[in-house]
Amino acid sequence: MAQSSVISSKQTDYISPARRTTMGVVFLVMALTIWFGFVISTTSDALTTFVLYPGGSDVVVADLIFASRPILNILAFLCAGLGAYQLAKGFGKWTNTLLGVVAGLFIAAFLVWGSSGTSLNLAGLLKVAVVRAVPLTLGAFSGIFCERSGVFNIAIEGMMLTAAFCAALFGSLVNIWFGLFTAVLSGILLAYVLAVLSIKYKVNQIISGTVINIFATGITSFLSAKFLQRHSELNDSGRFTTWNIPGLSEIPFFGPILFSHNMFIYAMFIFTAVLTVLFFYTRWGLRTRAVGEHPKAADTLGINVNRTRYISVLIGGAMAGFAGAYFVLGSVGRFDEVMTAGRGFVGLAAMIFGNWNPIGSLGAGMLFGFADSLASKLAILKVPIPNKFLEMAPYLVTMIVLAGVVGRGQPPAAGGQPYEKE
């Protein structure tokens, strides 16, 4: 440990003047974009229509119709006002929160502008966002289990892919519950490989993760080509059905968006709560976090570092397996080669963006899910932005977060290092 001299012992929420100014400028740029990008290209009499219930839902709500331009102006004024205050005085430790608020205002303006003169199914957009968030958030949870105990897991992708394959195959052979079980099991098995390589053999954890990713891509494509593609009855697992939560799903607007899904979506919310309690209010969580932060300290207090890591990684694998099952049992009902398409890595990104925190990861997952959902709606909106660029958003956001532009996260300090008793 370096001897960095600490004179004032209290850590403050330090916002450098440079960053204060940068943020202020960012807010103002957003305001200006709304004015010069959106307002100018909107005719003064254009109306925006937001549909407030998803297609196929019985909970009908009247459409929200308003004049686009005044609303855009209001949103721009709000951004500009916040920007001016930030430049003049600064929001201090609330700066990041305000960045979120301004970004929200900007997205709202974008939607108003994109759907001016036409209508946008806002509820549908949000409902899809929640669905798309599921594999990302669950993937992030898998990452949290591993990394909080000090093991990098870049193999979430491979675990999810293998789990999806198992879900499809065994779901078709037996039933969806057995498919789910084998998916979780396959996640645990691959996590065991990750754990053995990383903990027992002290292989660099990025490399152990890469082993699993390459293996998973290979074996699933191999088996899929060998069996699933030749016998389509092996690749028809069926899906978990939508279950409307009685009462809650009747709530106008929110009901269909949040409470009319299959069990994977509810599981995502339940797991968020469970993980929060587990990590921050239980003995298990305290010990696991200690192992991820300062394994030697934990060891000197009699905590078995490697066993703690094994357990945590295996649970992480189970979580990735569950997330993988979603692709088949919660979504399309069949397996396709490389069907996870990098969602595992976006999950990793959500974990980082969520600061290794379950609630944060849920938020990040939702945000990325929203970007994904919006990308698929762009064609309808006739906005001159290619949807591929919007699909890049999660990756870009993660890079920006990692660069510390919006404040650096706090990764577990011992992440990636095998533990060795001296």
Partner: protein
Amino acid sequence: MEPVLELRGITKRFPGVLANDQISIDLKKGEIHALLGENGAGKTTLMNILYGLYKPDEGEIFVKGKKLEVSSPRDAIHAGVGMVHQHFMLVPVFTVTENVMLGDEYLLPGGLLDRKKAANRILEISQQYNLAVEPGSYIKDLPVGIQQRVEIIKLLFRHADILILDEPTAVLTPQEVNELFSIMKKLVEQGKSIIFITHKLREVMEFADRITVIRGGKVVGTTLPKETNQKQLASMMVGRQIELNIKKEAAVTGDPVLQVNDLKVLNTSHQVAVDNVSFEVRAGEVLGIAGVQGNGQTELVRCLTGLTRPVAGKITLLGKNVTHANAKTVKEIGTAHIPEDRQKDGLVLPYSIEDNLILNTWYEAPYARRNILQRKVILDYANKLVKRFDIRAPNALTATSHLSGGNQQKVIVAREFSRPIKFLVASQPTRGLDVGSIEYIHQRIIEKRDQGCAVLLVSTELDEVMQLSDRIAVMYRGQILAVVDARKTTREEIGLLMAGVKQAAV
């Protein structure tokens, strides 16, 4: 009276080393027993065995007459043996409460953590033993002195009554050291027993009830403070008569080589670490910087050697303004730098001695021509230096990771002293070395001074600073409180300054 702790014939071998050789020690109830030995003598290995981190190859441990089988730290804790490690075992992002209860958590009926109960227990302990802490504060926000208290509370929380303190004073100010010893006295009064590991003779003489000296993994002898003196202890520790004072002529000083004016430097967490510091170093003199670790010395040295940039002030080296110069420029003007952490900064451990010797000059003729390394030239040069500086290694192609600490430091000294240098920054040049190497390095530094080199010596070992320096500057909380003449000052004066007490008369 039966000893509370007894070690009998403990032997521990590592590949190629006999770290502990038939060591037997006992500890009586209510006693402060000092374990004295120089670096590498095997003290820490012994304590790690007692604490269950290592398994001994031979020997037995008895606690209160019962044989103790330790296979993990947990067994040791349950037997009432607790240890405060040299590097604190605290999770920085956890609170005091969380750190203390980790591993022995209090739970609510539902299985959730009972932080409140634990915090109350901590307050109780802190009152009983005068160990003031705030259970809710985060470790990363606490100064080291308080962190050490948390470590002690951790042991008391687990009802340990045999406490092992491993080099507990290394990071403390003289004042904090006194506080620590009053805490230790209080603990002993209330029935605890303490083993106190150190290599500092003075502390042993002042605070120990009994002293056991270890050398080369063996017990050399056990004695009482009143029956011995520092000189005798020192020769027991080292195994031969040693000169406690190095011989040196009075300094013949020349022009100022380094001038520092109102320097202000931030540390990596953007806090002011060096605060308006001004001083100068003249040719042919050693300016020592004394101070407790963490008072800005590290940042000062990094700034002077071009590794970080100051936020204010001016640095002049040989008449050139180098305030914002980088490490390369500073070096090319004629600065040599023995870094504080030789393995982290000073060496590329997997590299051979040869490659480490050109770490500063790899791009210069004759070692490189037109950007091509001249391997033959480099090897000849390296062989020459290995001989001249007495680096003990099979040959110049040996990786430096295979060398002992003393020889590693010699590689650095060989590299730095073989260039035409006018200014030497030596930061903790003898940390962790055996006495032979310490003497060798000290002589070389004085030799450079006598050749007319300006030397800035930074050390937290007060004895080292007192011995080598012509003038001594004391740093406290980023400031230089005073610059005193080394021949006229006393340990007490420097000690007070290190604790931040500034006297009018200086």
